[in-house]
Symmetry: C2
Subunit: 285 residues, 2 copies
């Protein structure tokens, strides 16, 4: 017998997704947000924060691989890294594939996201207890104000840039990221859907450019996020994702992966015409 419980998420353009739910494993209100952990009929377990799908077990590899690896394979020597958000542990799991990494700071505002993940998503969150990982249950914006010259790469694994995560796309935040980098590192962030979040992408790039003049957008499919297609943005004063690509490292790590490989590294930065035009439009267009 199949369940009659459905999860619905409707986004821009009155367009949404629906997923059949077998049972509710956890449904709590943390100090910051509503957290749901659902077992679906066909997409594995699913985490939902304030009504937005954060991950399903079936497709989370897409998002986590594509947030973690392109930057890791564009830096010559990444040893110390920071993840802001990402309390489910998926990004950390990907980073731990690299013996090059000596330490990972994870800054997650909401400790309950980590606890729920550790209870119900053990395969995704397992890396959070790795000795190379230090967890900080704090506001990423405040945490970063206190850091200087520390990280080779900063990964911003945030929820949508509204509410608790709005500060993570401010120009001051990006300036603090730059100061927290050791030498000339890389900052990479999820940057919403090119189909339904043009305004948000333009805002992010507008706020980035005074700090990092040439943000590089790249793209990946992502089933369970609005529109099924997602963007990421990588910035650096020194490194270019294509020119400074570390092919040997990419080749090595991609053997363990489902999506990312050397050819994908290059092609992900290829932008369709409408995305190129969007990025060239004035911010308020």
């Amino acid at each position: 017998m199949t369940s009659h419980l459905w999860f619905h998420e409707v986004g821009q353009h009155h367009f949404g997704i629906q997923i059949r739910v077998r049972r509710t494993l956890c449904h709590v209100q943390s100090p910051y947000q509503e957290i749901m952990l659902l077992e679906t009929e066909g997409m594995g377990r699913m985490m939902i924060l304030d009504g937005c799908v954060m991950l399903t077990e079936r497709d989370e590899f897409l998002y986590h691989e594509m947030l973690a690896h392109p930057a890791m394979c564009s830096h010559p020597n990444p040893k110390r890294v920071l993840v802001i958000g990402g309390g489910d542990g998926g990004t950390v799991r990907e980073l731990l594939r690299y013996p090059e990494i000596e330490s990972i700071d994870l800054v997650e505002l909401d400790e309950q996201v980590v606890r729920v993940s550790q209870e119900f998503l053990p395969e995704i969150s397992a890396g959070l207890t790795d000795p190379r990982v230090t967890m900080h249950f704090r506001d990423g914006v405040v945490f970063l104000e206190e850091r200087t010259n520390t990280y080779d790469i900063i990964f911003i694994d945030s929820t949508d840039p509204v509410g608790p995560a709005a500060g993570l796309i401010a120009q001051e935040f990006f300036a603090n990221c730059k100061r927290a980098l050791r030498g000339q590192g890389i900052v990479v962030m999820q940057s919403e859907s090119p189909f339904v979040h043009a305004k948000e992408i333009k805002q992010i790039h507008h706020n980035l450019r005074p700090v990092f003049p040439n943000p590089q957008l790249y793209l990946s499919p992502m089933l369970s996020y609005p529109s099924g297609w997602w963007s990421f943005t990588m910035v650096s004063e020194k490194f270019d994702a294509r020119r400074d690509f570390v092919e040997e490292r990419c080749h090595r790590v991609s053997k363990q992966l489902e999506y990312y490989n050397p050819a994908i590294h290059q092609s992900a930065f290829t932008l369709p015409n409408f995305v190129q035009r969007m990025l060239n439009e004035p911010q308020d267009a």
Copy 2:
């Protein structure tokens, strides 16, 4: 006031989409299928055949550009072409962008699809009355049995390969395609979603290989189709999409387009690891 009418399409994995509908413009049963033409709140007008979204005005450019242009830019001299299915006219609209094309045969089983498109989707279907286009309201499988040495490129713009369209992925059909090509042309087809139709893609490639040994899969986002990500397959005895790429033609046509451009031509054929593995699996795995 927003409408309370919603269209739902649930596919594999108990995963689906939902789109808010402002009004129903047409809802008929043709001899072949149920045809709905809906005006949505945020995706423009939408055509639905037997419960499956065929197109929305907001995202049809993705599918039609990516079905038409990669093959058109991989053939040195495409003059005579055939479209099987595609009664909405979107593929023909893309093909008419090429002055190189002298004639287009469109073979659509269901005349009512064309009539409904001409009434409610005039911008998509306008090209169907172009003097270079000849419409045939027939079964594409039978039509092709009668053709020999005729076309430079055959575009298979079909619905899902079940019911009326099942014959369009049979090995005999592909052999007839080969015979209908003039010299060594190209056949290109929509080939379902790499996320949710692995079985169908493997079936298509299994049936293709005895006729065309090296099918080339390529990928594109597609919001309103299941999983938001779609595949196409191009085959030819002679032409390779990357090696025989006609960059000048691509550069020229892409100025009129929203998605496709020379860099996209190359990157669309880049396959993620799990898709490569899927194509290497036995057909019944």
